[in-house]
């Protein structure tokens, strides 16, 4: 009198959706892989800021000085480390 529930069809539909999603993810993953790798090897894109601002020494002075001070700090640390070196001490002969 009542129809039997269709359990087999539901399972195969879910499997199909699952496979479709997996394929989609593979494609997405592939695209992002190519995107990030090409991004790392190609040169940085030219900034879209107007040339006058980018080349203006007043506008870039802060960055110029910051970069220079960063280099200076790194070198001072390296120099201090060298000064404490014992590699020039004469070994006991």
């Amino acid at each position: 009198m009542f129809p039997e529930p269709k359990t087999e069809n539901t399972g195969s539909t879910a499997l199909s959706i699952f496979i479709a999603v997996l394929v989609l993810l593979v494609i997405t993953g592939g695209i992002s892989w190519f995107y990030f790798n090409s991004k790392s090897s190609t040169p940085e894109p030219v900034a879209t800021t107007p040339t006058t601002t980018v080349n203006d020494p007043v506008e870039t002075a802060s960055t110029t000085v910051s970069d220079a001070l960063q280099d200076l700090d790194a070198e001072l640390a390296a120099i201090d480390s060298d000064l404490n070196s014992t590699d020039d001490d004469v070994p006991t002969l």
């Binding site: 990030f36 790798n37 991004k39 790392s40 870039t60 802060s62 001070l69």
Partner: protein
């Protein structure tokens, strides 16, 4: 069952989207690590050889001591020569202005020549005492690690700072002046910074010319040069703040050269 499939999907998403990013990040990390590879690590084989040779000398029988000491001295020279070559390759026009680079290269060449000459003396030693003196000279007359290398680094950075002061920062002052802004305070600080950088450079040059022998004198000079560089650091930091404070006024004046800003006095 549904929960299990959902978990697999989440893991799949993380792996597929995350892996490319991870590989990208790893590439960058490797580059950074490669750049900062320690000099001593890069000549590890030579250092190990010298150390083994010294150990051999220490345990050698009396009649073998002379030969073993000469062998050790030669290894020590070889290690120092390798350190010089490696360190020299790290300086280029990119991180060291030409004038400093020339001085650094000359100093490295002088030490190399000294080491070659000392090898000849050491190899010709006929007594153990003579060989000991020659071996001590390898270290004491060529303070490669303690003075030559740091002085070279110091000379390069000092000259680089001078280039920046004379270059981009001088240009900035010119632009500020052209916009009608008072730059006297900034100019004074830049002069002070340049004088200190020049003083540091001159001191490092002196050390580069005599990196061996006068240990106490070189130590004093290294400290003096460091103090000068710290002065440059402070003064340039002040210049940076001064320019940043003037940026608003500068932008306004650059846009409208004729307009008066709020901080300007009104002329009757």
């Amino acid at each position: 069952m549904t929960y299990q499939r959902f978990s697999i999907l989440i893991v799949g998403v993380l792996m597929l989207v995350g892996l490319p990013n991870l590989s990208y990040a790893q590439t960058n990390d490797t580059t950074t690590t490669k750049k900062t590879t320690d000099l001593r690590e890069s000549i590890k084989t030579k250092r190990d050889e010298a150390k083994t040779s010294l150990d051999d000398y220490k345990v050698a029988r009396e009649e073998q001591k002379l030969a073993k000491l000469i062998q050790y001295g030669d290894k020590a020279i070889s290690e120092r020569t390798a350190a010089l070559t490696e360190q020299k390759s790290r300086f280029s026009a990119k991180n060291c202005p030409t004038v400093a680079l020339t001085a650094v290269n000359d100093a490295f060449a002088t030490i190399n020549t000294n080491l070659v000459a000392q090898k000849t003396v050491l190899d010709a030693s006929t007594t153990l005492e003579g060989a000991k003196t020659a071996t001590r000279d390898i270290f004491q007359k060529n303070r490669v690690y303690k003075y030559l290398m740091p002085a070279a680094k110091g000379a390069c950075i000092a000259q680089k700072l001078i280039s920046i002061i004379d270059g981009r920062l001088a240009e900035a002052v010119t632009k500020l002046k052209a916009a009608g802004i008072d730059t006297v305070a900034i100019e004074t600080k830049l002069t002070e910074a340049k004088t200190a950088a020049q003083s540091a450079y001159d001191t490092y040059l002196q050390i580069l010319k005599t990196p061996g022998g006068d240990d106490d004198g070189n130590k004093t000079k290294m400290n003096a040069a460091k103090t000068s560089l710290q002065t440059v650091r402070k003064t340039l930091g002040d210049v940076k703040s001064d320019i940043a404070n003037l940026l608003g006024t500068y932008r306004q004046k650059s846009k409208n050269p004729g307009t008066r800003t709020l901080d300007e006095p009104v002329t009757p």
